[in-house]
């Protein structure tokens, strides 16, 4: 028998709410630290953008985008076309490679996502040489084989859309492939047994189950497409196809820089993406991205489709257009004396590589900065993303949903708009010495990529059964010990994979960097763009190709190291 103990009546329950016994402080401390960091990263620039577009020249500036309906329309058209194309191609590839016994499937799956490791800037530059209306290699080839009527012009709105689709298709491919793998084979088999043809089962069972992944990747691509600077700058501006980002760039390049109007454009972009994000969360609601996760569950077992060779050909075509051709174009331009389409004038030389690697002083400075920023960004985003996701998924602390939503905000902010906000914030704080240094770039990168880190960590944590951590706690391990000995080792493989991708993405970031860099804190993407604007195109090609080659080598090395670690 227990001595005097409080008898709990219903009416007392409310009073206890104030004294709600909580988990011990490590979780709460983590929550507070993560919330603090995320707020500090996300809020000031956001506020600065809103405040500046209202402050400087006020309402008049806010309306200027409406005076440029062509640019508004172009931006929306680019977003919609790129999204539709990317999801169709990416999703199509996912379905084709997903389970039809396609020959060379493993290799193809790896090659299809290579554009994620390239940068759209270099892809666009490569295609500008392949697809120029008069001096493009493709047209010369086509005319040479007798198709004189055909004229491909990639330096156009169509070119911008096409290169965007090629660059972003891997995103829906990844998300939809994952969803496809998550469908229990039994579901499809049940349909087949009950008389459904393969195609009917696809339409009525598989496609609806893939809808959340398709919607999520659509939103992702749309936000990227309308916030992208490099491709419209290279392929759109020369043909008069201007979009919001190139307009922002132009307004700021001007003197005097038209700050109010630039931030007004930024605000419009922000409004569109915020509205879409909200719509998506309403549509998908709490519907999880995982389909069935039952106890006994086999992933979809591939059969052999008659069209599998056709599917392979389609995949190879994509790889050719998105990866091989632009890379070859870069190599070509880098290896000849000057860029010309006249075969009689093409002279091989190594001087551009020599210049870029040994003489151009910015190369190694930029490479060093980029590498440093890449490592720092990937590490910080992984850790912060892990902290946020862990708090959101594993604890029941109040306010964790707000933390999750706040950390997703950068997804709706185009990087360039975000950089604008950062500029205003830090120029005004003289005692914080990061303005004009790598520090401000790091802030921009970490904030921009935070949502990826959070989502990657969330995916990894969800795979981990919570009882594994609970068992450690009950067995006597403190929260910290459980983290160190159980959670982290089990999360490490997935986190390392996302680390690598974050590293590469940080290496290629251009939209924010181009507003925030200085000559001592320049990075590779800015140096490339700078050479593209002011220098020799062959030098651009040499720098670009060298950069990509180095990236591939490093990533290959890291992936091998990871595989070895996982197997060990």
């Amino acid at each position: 028998m227990i001595g005097t103990a409080a008898t709990v009546r219903r009416s007392d329950v409310g009073a206890f709410r104030l004294l709600r016994p909580r988990w011990p402080s490590p979780e709460r401390a983590l929550f507070i630290a993560a919330a603090f960091a995320v707020t500090l990263l996300v809020a000031p620039p956001l506020v600065a953008v809103v405040a500046t577009s209202i402050g400087q020249g006020a309402a008049a500036a806010l309306l200027t985008p409406l005076h440029q309906p062509a640019i508004l329309l172009n931006t929306l058209v680019l977003g919609l076309a790129a999204t539709t194309g990317a999801v169709t191609i990416g999703g199509g590839l996912a379905l084709m490679l997903g389970g039809n016994g396609v020959p060379g499937r493993g290799l193809l799956e790896r090659l299809v996502i290579v554009p994620l490791y390239l940068t759209p800037l270099l892809t666009a530059i490569g295609w500008s040489w392949i697809g120029s209306p008069r001096s493009g290699l493709l047209n010369l080839f086509l005319h040479g084989v007798g198709l004189t009527e055909v004229d491909v012009n990639m330096v156009s709105a169509g070119g911008v859309v096409a290169v965007s689709i090629l660059s972003y298709a891997p995103l829906p491919f990844l998300l939809i492939s994952d969803a496809l793998r998550g469908i229990d084979a039994a579901m499809i088999e049940a349909a087949r047994v009950h008389g459904a043809s393969r195609r009917f089962a696809l339409r009525r069972i598989v496609l609806p189950l893939l809808l959340p992944a398709a919607l999520a990747s659509s939103l992702l691509v749309f936000v990227q497409a309308i916030g992208m600077f490099s491709v419209p700058a290279v392929l759109g501006m020369p043909s008069g196809f201007n979009v919001a980002t190139t307009e922002i760039f132009r307004l700021l390049e001007n003197y005097p820089p038209r700050i109010g109007e630039a931030t007004a454009w930024g605000l419009y972009l922000l409004a569109v993406t915020a509205a879409l994000t909200f719509a998506q969360s309403v549509l998908l609601g709490r519907r999880s991205f995982a389909t069935i996760t039952g106890k006994s569950f086999r992933p979809h077992v591939p059969g052999r489709s008659k069209a599998r060779h056709l599917y392979a050909a389609a995949a190879w075509l994509y790889v050719l257009l998105a990866t091989v051709l632009p890379l070859l174009a870069l190599l070509w331009a880098a290896s000849i004396d000057f860029v010309t389409a006249d075969p009689r004038l093409m002279r091989l030389t190594a001087r551009h590589f020599a210049f870029v690697l040994f003489q151009y002083p910015k190369t190694w400075l930029a490479a060093g900065n980029s590498a440093l920023l890449g490592v720092a960004t990937a590490t910080l985003v992984t850790l912060l993303g892990l902290a946020v996701s862990w708090v959101v998924i594993r604890t029941r602390l109040r306010g964790r949903t707000s933390l999750d939503q706040l950390s997703m905000v950068p997804l709706s902010m185009p990087a360039m708009v975000f950089a604008l906000g950062l500029l205003w914030v830090y120029v005004a704080i003289p005692f914080l010495p990061i303005y004009g240094t790598i520090g401000i770039l790091l802030v921009a990168y970490v904030t921009h990529y935070l949502p990826f880190g959070v989502r990657a960590a969330a995916g990894a944590i969800r795979q981990l059964h919570p009882e594994l951590e609970e068992a450690a706690r009950v067995a006597g391990a403190s929260w910290l010990q459980s983290m160190r000995w159980i959670t982290m080792p089990l999360l490490r493989p997935a986190l390392f994979a996302s680390w690598i991708l974050l590293f590469v993405m940080a290496l290629h970031e251009v939209s924010a960097s181009i507003l925030l860099y200085t000559s001592s804190s320049t990075v590779l993407s800015v140096t490339t763009f700078d050479l593209w604007e002011n220098g020799n195109p062959s030098d651009v090609a040499a720098l670009g190709f060298a950069q990509l080659a180095a990236t591939f080598v490093i990533v290959g090395f890291l992936l091998r190291a990871r595989r070895r670690a996982v197997l060990a």
Binding site: S132, P133, R134, S135, A233, M237, P238, S239, G240, F249, R250, L252, E253, N254, Y255, P256, P257, D337, F338, V339, T340, A341, D342, L345, Y360, P361, K362, L423, V427, A428, P430, G436, T518, S519, S520, W532, E533, N534, G535, N536, P537
Partner: protein, 344 residues
């Protein structure tokens, strides 16, 4: 000899032999001050890596100055934006600014954003290339045309701005530079002054291709994407690599619009003495010859500086410069919209 006669002669002789003692004294004070400051922060819009070589020559004279730490190199628009942002925030880190946008310098002088320094070198500059004590043009970029001799013969190439309106140059055969950079306004304004708005409209009707920068215009001509590069920075046509690729310059008959790139000291500069030493150097004949004739291949506004090799002397090119600064400033505010309406 009477002392009363000798002393003035001796003084005069001393003056002539020793140079201006007031000057020498000022210079020594500047050097002493610069030694204490030990750093100079330059915001520079001059393209390419040649400016670093120029700075190396300056550093050879004053080795105690750190020129690298605060050096900022970016296109004109960004340089001006950065410096003005700092001035607005009252947190100035730059000492000296060089940018190819004369209108901006005029405005900044009027707004008290530039610091006055009466360098003795100002005397050598013509009045339309400076504002005494505040800024002077250290680079003059001519706007010319160019063609690719592998695609066009010298006879078929245009010789005057008016030739651009010929039918054979219609439909994406001409490349122009985008309105974003500061130099472009200057070029179009001067062409309008010389040839009239009607000319510009007709040029727009030729449907030229608009490229982001002058370098890309050059590249488009070399590649064979267009026949003619109009509004080309003249020095690009004289680069050895371009010449090897077949690029040939054309000095238009009606005249050559000139874009001036001034240099000046920012008000509130943290290292004023070092800044003044720099102004003295870059405005001097030695500095100008190194910068323009030897390194950049651009024109200098100092008459005692020779033109770069292969280029026509400045006077013979019929240089066009703005005559009414107020009108110039007013037009600059409306420019990008105007450009878009003409050429898009």
């Amino acid at each position: 000899m009477s002392w009363r006669i000798a002393i003035p002669w001796l003084l005069t002789a001393g003056l002539m032999l020793g140079g201006n003692p007031v000057r020498a004294e000022n210079h020594a004070a500047l050097v002493a001050g610069a030694q204490r400051e030990a750093q100079l922060n330059i915001a520079d819009a001059a393209p390419g890596e040649n400016f670093t070589k120029f700075l190396a020559a300056f550093k050879a004279k004053y080795p105690f100055l750190d020129l690298a730490t605060g050096f900022y190199s970016a296109p004109t628009g960004r340089v001006l934006a950065r410096v003005n942002a700092e001035l607005d925030a009252k947190h100035v880190t730059f000492d000296v600014m060089l940018a190819a946008n004369m209108a901006a310098f005029v405005k900044m002088t009027r707004a008290g954003k530039l610091q006055r320094y009466d360098s003795p070198e100002y005397a050598a500059y013509p009045p339309n290339a400076k504002q005494d004590g505040y800024w002077a043009a250290v680079q003059a970029i001519g706007v010319i045309m160019a063609y690719n001799e592998n695609r066009l013969s010298a006879n078929d190439a245009p010789h005057a701005w008016a030739d651009l309106l010929l039918p054979r140059f219609a439909n994406r055969q001409i490349a122009l530079q985008n309105a974003a950079s500061g130099t472009q306004f200057n070029q179009i304004y001067l062409l309008q002054q010389a040839l009239g708005l009607d000319y510009l409209k007709k040029l727009g009707a030729q449907r030229p291709v608009v490229m982001a920068t002058s370098a890309q215009v050059t590249d488009a001509v070399i590649r064979g994407e267009v026949l003619i590069g109009a509004t080309l920075d003249h020095w690009r046509a004289f680069e050895p690599a371009a010449a090897k690729a077949g690029l040939r310059p054309i000095y238009p008959a009606e005249g050559m619009p000139l874009t001036l790139a001034p240099v000046g000291i920012v008000a509130g500069a943290p290292h004023p003495n070092a800044a003044k030493l720099f102004m003295d150097f870059i405005l001097s004949q030695e500095g100008q010859t190194l910068l323009d004739t030897k390194l950049y291949g651009m024109y200098s506004m100092r008459p005692d500086v020779p033109p770069p090799p292969g280029q026509k002397p400045l006077a013979e090119t019929k240089p066009l410069l703005p005559t009414n600064l107020d009108d110039y400033l007013r037009a600059s505010a409306q420019f990008p919209a105007e450009f878009d309406s003409l050429f898009h």
